[in-house]
């Protein structure tokens, strides 16, 4: 409990670091937001007025602290392109991203660890070779290309699944409809990460099998199944957990592409649009929000790691 508090507090400098990077990088973006809002025919007086309204006439550091102060209060400003509060937009979009990325993440963790273990335990058999080959193919395919090919095959040619979107436009909207729309993007998104997890699992299981304590278990007459489930996997999970934490970041990143390919109404698509439209506050808020969630997620992974491995002090 004490540790939990400590860990949360230690995240504060990291979060502050993120705010600094986000704020200053975004402030470096060339171009004048006021001109962007008012269009190129705006009079200099109007631009100046708007700059004052937006607080852009103040110094950079001062603006950072104002922005930080607002941020802490949950005020991320207004998106000028969408003309609504940034936070509202993000929260609405993030829900969709979470559904997609979360599903993909669970998929890659479970399937990755499972096939990695099977592959190691059946090393050099035909099963192992098939898995190894599939995994290799998986990690070499760009997820956006895979997504496009899946659309062609399953949505256009076979017509089993919808081409894009999160819910059907007419009717739909229920859970089953969501699942129906989720299958393709989630698989496309999970594939690379699944491959990575499977490979690392396979190697670490093989390495663990060589350890002295596995020999001890066998010397005790423990059945091979129990050696695998009670002894090997117990350690393997501890070594794979940090990798899963990293994969969450990759899945989140990949979701940007998948959201675009499948027209999924998530944060990623919103961010790319915002960058192209120079909607600075929305970019700032979006990046900040996702990064903060990722930091929290990693804290959770850390805590789980600590719980599973009593050697960490």
């Amino acid at each position: 409990m004490n540790y939990l508090l400590q860990r949360l507090l230690s995240a504060i400098p990291v979060l502050l670091g993120i705010t600094i990077i986000v704020f200053f990088i975004i402030s470096l973006i060339p171009g004048d937001p006021a001109t962007a809002i008012l269009g190129s025919y705006a009079t200099p007086e109007n631009v100046k007025l708007l700059n004052e309204q937006l607080g852009l006439d103040k110094g950079l550091v001062q603006r950072y602290f104002i922005w930080l102060g607002n941020l802490v209060q949950g005020d991320l400003g207004r998106s000028f392109a969408l003309n609504r509060p940034v936070l509202d937009e993000i929260l609405e979009r993030f829900n969709a991203t979470l559904i997609l990325s979360g599903t993909a993440f669970i998929l890659c963790s479970v399937v990755g660890v499972l096939i990695g273990t099977i592959s190691a335990f059946k090393q050099y058999t035909i099963t192992d070779k098939i898995i190894t080959f599939t995994v290799l193919t998986g990690i070499s395919l760009p997820s956006f290309f895979l997504g496009m090919m899946m659309i062609l095959l399953f949505a256009v040619n076979l017509q089993w699944l919808p081409v894009s979107g999160m819910y059907a436009i007419y009717g739909g909207g229920d859970f089953l409809d969501l699942i129906h729309h989720l299958i393709m993007p989630a698989i496309a998104l999970a594939l690379v990460a699944t491959g990575v997890v499977a490979r690392i699992t396979r190697n670490s299981v093989l390495e663990i099998l060589r350890q002295d304590y596995i020999r001890t278990a066998r010397a005790k007459g423990v059945r091979e199944g129990n050696v695998l489930f009670k002894h090997v996997l117990r350690i393997a999970i501890v070594t794979i957990l940090p990798i899963l934490g990293l994969q969450a970041g990759f899945v989140l990143s990949g979701s940007v592409f998948i959201e675009i390919v499948f027209q999924w109404p998530g944060v990623g698509r919103m961010l790319v649009d915002a960058i192209l439209k120079r909607d600075i506050l929305l970019v700032q808020g979006g990046v900040m929000f996702v990064a903060a969630c990722y930091v929290l997620f990693n804290i959770a992974v850390d805590l789980l790691q600590r719980y599973l491995d009593p050697r960490i002090k």
């Binding site: 004490n2 400590q6 507090l9 230690s10």
Partner: protein, 320 residues
């Protein structure tokens, strides 16, 4: 204490490892490794430091060689504080030989390259002189010249330890610290190395500090012995006298525990074998919980060094 004859002396040497207790607690935990130790080494002498794992003997040795900075205390080599030596001057006077002979050699360098380093950087010799020196030293340690172009993994432990000795000798340092010089070696090879060390000491007029957990090894090459327990020296004496007549009960226990080939095991009661907590060291004698001679006094008071019949020890109730 700091005799003019001493080639090396250390006064009130301590090492604590500290760690912050936590985010809210600025007070730090001190982990005691070496506690207020005095050492002196005469020229051409070999001094043994014996103790079990965790007693702080390696920490002590590394501090003397300048590889670890002490928390407090001073170390003098030839009457000059080691902090007053120029940056790369100290290795010309004191060298350290490592326990694991293979891992003290860079796996990606040939033996020649490893041996050339001290000649190049410590003694600034040119290529020709370096080659001459290496070829002559390699004979001293009874290795063949053709070994020079090989890599460390091609050597047995005994050969690698000879290379380690050669490297140390090339620096021309007169003080050498030997950290468990033979514990990684096979029994049949140990005695070769110990003899070599004895011979080289005479030939090059070296002074040794030998760290070991093995009493027999210490006895075979040392003139004087210090026994360490829990970061402290509990007994120091001439080697001969110590092995014949241990004063401190811990020394006695160590000697008694060495298995001998001519006798069967004696049934021992379970006596406490755990060391005290280094974060929270006891008030009194640190050997209290394991001691056969203990009384209430030992629990509350830490014995100062006592001198009796030319023997020095830290115990209220010594054997004999």
């Amino acid at each position: 204490m700091n005799n003019k004859m001493d080639i090396l002396s250390a006064k009130n040497l301590s090492k604590f490892y500290s760690k912050n207790k936590g985010l809210f607690n600025k007070q730090s935990i001190n982990l005691r490794a070496v506690n207020n130790i005095n050492i002196n080494l005469k020229a051409k002498e070999s001094l043994g430091i014996v103790g079990e794992s965790g007693c702080g003997k390696s920490t002590l040795a590394k501090m003397l060689a300048g590889l670890i900075t002490p928390s407090s205390g001073e170390i003098k080599i030839q009457d000059k504080d080691i902090n007053n030596y120029k940056k790369y001057e100290l290795p010309n006077h004191i060298q350290y030989m490592f326990q694991d002979p293979i891992s003290s050699l860079n796996p990606r360098k040939t033996i020649y390259q490893s041996l050339a380093a001290p000649l190049k950087y410590l003694r600034n010799l040119d290529e020709k002189e370096i080659e001459k020196e290496i070829k002559s030293i390699i004979k001293e340690v009874s290795l063949k010249e053709e070994f020079l172009n090989r890599f460390p993994h091609e050597f047995s432990g005994g050969q690698a330890q000879r290379i380690g000795i050669a490297r140390v000798l090339l620096s021309k340092a007169k003080i050498i610290i030997l950290d468990e010089p033979v514990s990684a070696l096979d029994v049949s090879v140990q005695s070769q190395i110990l003899n070599l060390l004895n011979d080289l000491q005479k030939k090059f007029e070296l002074s040794y500090i030998v760290i070991s957990h093995d009493l027999a090894v210490i006895e075979a090459i040392c003139d004087r012995v210090m026994v360490m327990y829990f970061g402290d020296i509990v007994e120091k004496s001439d080697a001969k006298e110590l092995f014949q007549k241990p004063y401190h009960p811990y020394t006695n226990l160590l000697l008694k525990s060495v298995p001998k080939t001519n006798q069967k095991i004696k049934i021992q009661n379970l006596i406490e074998t755990e060391l005290p907590d280094p974060i929270n060291p006891p008030e009194g004698c640190s050997f209290y919980s394991r001691c056969e001679n203990k009384t209430e006094k030992c629990k509350d008071l830490n014995p100062e060094e006592t001198i009796k019949e030319n023997r020095k020890f830290k115990c209220f109730f010594p054997n004999n």
